[in-house]
């Protein structure tokens, strides 16, 4: 008689669906529509995560949204999320004040696994709010800078006013990261680059034969960026992308985030580009 498979070490569904209570201890307005919230757990137990993972944030009475953690995974302190105010729930989160309580489930999903880039060059490519999920990975690499070869960040945003973490970009440069920034449109006073983020790829200093590339941004941007990286010689198996789907349960049960054979909330959000190459270009998947 066949044996039943051993149960895997997942949280019971009941507890996985119950949010923990976190209190807003600080808030920063990053751009006109994007803000970062700093949260402390009411029960005092920190929420451990790995760079690339997300949580489900609840605005009570309004709903839940999946948001990647944007803080440092290895430094004690408040849990950070950088959120763009684009809908009912994120708008409710935007209106929270210090002391307000919200729900947090997770963390969920796969991480960037930056340790896989040890002794090699690491390339980050972020588009718009996509820099936020990359930030924990950037911080991890910079905290262990000597373990990596050249480290490059290519970052594109719609306009100079919509660039995230502007002060930090300068610090990251000082810590040994090549930072290339471009925007879609600039005013006459903007001295930086204007153009697609893919235009930066031929200019960046990295060895494509020995590079781990991590991309986060809108899917079309990730597809074109990955193609440009492959065109420069980076192996598709060494490129990772963070997919964005309509996640609801976060534990692979509801199917809202199904992407053909993948459940993005558990199989992703970070996935090898080689695994999703064919999916990224498909319509209606």
């Amino acid at each position: 008689m066949p044996r039943l498979a051993e149960p895997t070490a997942v949280q019971p569904v009941e507890s996985a669906m119950v949010p923990r209570l976190f209190r807003l201890v600080d808030r920063r307005q990053d751009t006109a529509d994007t803000f970062t919230i700093m949260l402390e757990p009411n029960d005092g137990v920190p929420l451990a995560f790995i760079p690339g993972q997300f949580t489900m944030l609840s605005a009570f009475g309004v709903g839940e949204v999946p948001i990647s953690v944007s803080g440092d995974a290895h430094v004690a302190g408040p849990l950070q999320h950088t959120v763009r105010d684009v809908g009912a729930v994120t708008h409710a989160l935007a209106r929270t004040a210090v002391g307000d309580v919200m729900g947090v489930r997770g963390p969920y999903g796969t991480g960037w696994d930056v340790a896989d880039g040890h002794s090699r060059d690491v390339v980050f490519v972020g588009g718009g709010i996509g820099l936020a999920p990359l930030r924990p990975a950037v911080l991890e690499v910079l905290a262990h800078r000597e373990d990596f070869g050249r480290v490059v960040l290519m970052y594109g945003a719609r306009s100079p006013e919509e660039l995230l973490f502007v002060d930090e970009l300068k610090q990251w440069e000082d810590q040994g990261m090549e930072v290339l920034v471009t925007v879609d449109y600039g005013r006459e006073s903007w001295q930086g680059r204007v153009g697609l983020v893919t235009k930066l790829i031929p200019r960046a200093g990295f060895d494509p034969r020995s590079t781990l590339a991590l991309i986060c941004g809108p899917e079309v941007m990730m597809r074109h960026t990955a193609l440009a990286l492959v065109g420069r010689g980076v192996r598709s198996s060494r490129i990772r992308v963070s997919l964005e789907r309509n996640m609801r349960c976060g534990v692979g049960l509801c199917g809202h985030c199904q992407y053909r054979e993948l459940f993005v909330c558990v199989d992703g959000p970070v996935l090898p580009y080689a695994q999703v190459t064919g999916l990224l270009g498909l319509r209606e998947v």
Binding site: V83, V86, G127, I129, A157, D184, G195, R245
Partner: protein
């Protein structure tokens, strides 16, 4: 700094052209230094030149009554600026301004057009290269029309 004759063979835009053709093109070229804010060309001007940026940054701009001056693209070291010199009616379609102190190689497009008219091979080679520059700008424009980084279509289903 290398001379124009030394610089051209290594530039991707001129890759594959034989030595006599490169010499002919170099003969129509001049090095120009620009102070920040100086213009290479203005929209509506006769497009008699195109440029390769050797150092610095050139901003490609358009002006609108409501939008004011908008930088649509920037060209850095190695980038090619201008295609209107090869496309009738040979009129510049944008302003090009040195965003910082810059150096460019200016090519006499009017002179090269004349040579292209009498040398179909040269004309075809230059047309292929200029078309690549145009294609790059067109693709970039298409991508920007999608407003990739989050236009009004963004929702709570995809807030990151």
């Amino acid at each position: 700094m290398r001379t124009i004759e030394q610089y051209l063979p290594d530039h991707p835009f001129f890759e594959g052209l034989d030595a006599p053709t490169l010499a002919l093109i170099a003969g129509c070229a001049t090095n120009i230094s620009l102070a920040a804010g100086e213009y290479l060309c203005h929209e509506g001007d006769a497009a008699d030149h195109f440029f390769v940026v050797r150092r610095g940054r050139v901003a490609i701009e358009v002006h609108g009554p409501a939008a004011g001056t908008l930088v649509l693209d920037t060209a850095d070291e190695g980038d090619v600026v201008g295609w209107s010199w090869l496309v009738p009616p040979y009129v510049s379609t944008f302003d090009a301004r040195a965003a910082e102190a810059s150096g460019v190689v200016a090519f006499d497009g009017a002179c090269l057009r004349g040579k292209c008219d009498t040398d179909a091979h040269l004309g075809y080679e230059l047309m292929k290269r200029v078309t690549q520059v145009m294609n790059g700008r067109l693709v970039a424009a298409q991508m920007r029309l999608l407003d990739l980084y989050g236009g009004p279509g963004a929702t709570d289903a995809s807030p990151r």
